[in-house]
Subunit: 193 residues, 2 copies
Amino acid sequence: MDIKPRQLEIIEAAGQLVTEDGFAALTTKRLAERMHFTEAALYRHFNSKEEILVTMLHHLASNIDERLTSVAEAHPEPVERVRAMFDSQFDYFQKNPQYLMAIFATGVLEASHAIDAGIERIVVVKRRHLLSAIKDGQRSGAFTSDHPADTLAHIIMGTFRLHMLQWRMSGRSFDVRKKGKALIVAALDLITN
Amino acid sequence: MDIKPRQLEIIEAAGQLVTEDGFAALTTKRLAERMHFTEAALYRHFNSKEEILVTMLHHLASNIDERLTSVAEAHPEPVERVRAMFDSQFDYFQKNPQYLMAIFATGVLEASHAIDAGIERIVVVKRRHLLSAIKDGQRSGAFTSDHPADTLAHIIMGTFRLHMLQWRMSGRSFDVRKKGKALIVAALDLITN
DNA sequence: ACAAAGTAAGTGAACACTAACATACATTTT
DNA sequence: AAAATGTATGTTAGTGTTCACTTACTTTGT
């Protein structure tokens, strides 16, 4: 599934609308306005509104997977790897805040099964990378083995997600990277031997 | 702001619809159907759809505040108090899953300022109780003082929220209380001296 | 008799989406 | 070199459906 340049522009505009004003703000009318063309032109690039969202989520999942894979390769040491993974995430969302919606869309939306599946896929990708790093860290003795890797991963992910939520709710008014790094360092400190 | 019995029935039905099928499923038509009366009858009890949601959030915030206050009074010891607070939360949402929406609504909705404010109020109430318990625990030496109370509260809240999200996404297919207790115990263990 | 709580039948606005047609530009045919 | 054709990408002007909400009237219980 390759995404054409014009499609990417539309996807980014759609993400902007959702991130700025909520999901209800993503209408074909407003999306067309933001693209400076008519509603009908949208349908030259996508078959439906749903397809726009599904394509966005697919694009985002692939992007995150690639990025986390390359970060993992660059940082063999588990504690440092987790730190670098989240740093990469903060950096990405700072530069592409329009994709923040994908983090929070879960749980309330249920607009369609395809959209739910797209959101789920992003969660799964992230958990896979994090869990792998934590298991490595437990084997090497860097992380505590007092609790299952699942549990540690859950605590770290929960910390990350709440941080992103607070950033979004504050109108992205603080330095997500700086504050996020501090939080992840604190959480890592708690689970480090 | 007192809520009449019939209003409470409507609020609960509205919460059910959102929790079952997402926010888009909350329409006046479907809500009236669930109440076994017509759309017009809704407007005998509320002035608008927004008012239904705002009243629900207000009700929920008051409820949570009362409950956490009484739990806090019953458990003077900080570690045990935090444990009991979350146990009370798990119990409540197990019995009233229709209010799960209020946990996840944040961040994507932005349907109106009044609704956002209602959601924010719930978050604030919870944080106030948790932060107070953690500060007590730091003073008594039960919790680590290696990190600020804010940070510890953030990690616990994030863990809780992600747990509730997973419960909801799984279709509430596991015992939220049992698994939740285990998670909170693990998180508390990490921040305990 | 009166107020509370219901109904039937609608309102205009907003929604996602479509049909028919226009333009720009690259490629192919003559 | 000029004309014809094809394809991508737009426009205008709609479609039917669903939305939250309203008006006028009716029933029910005290």
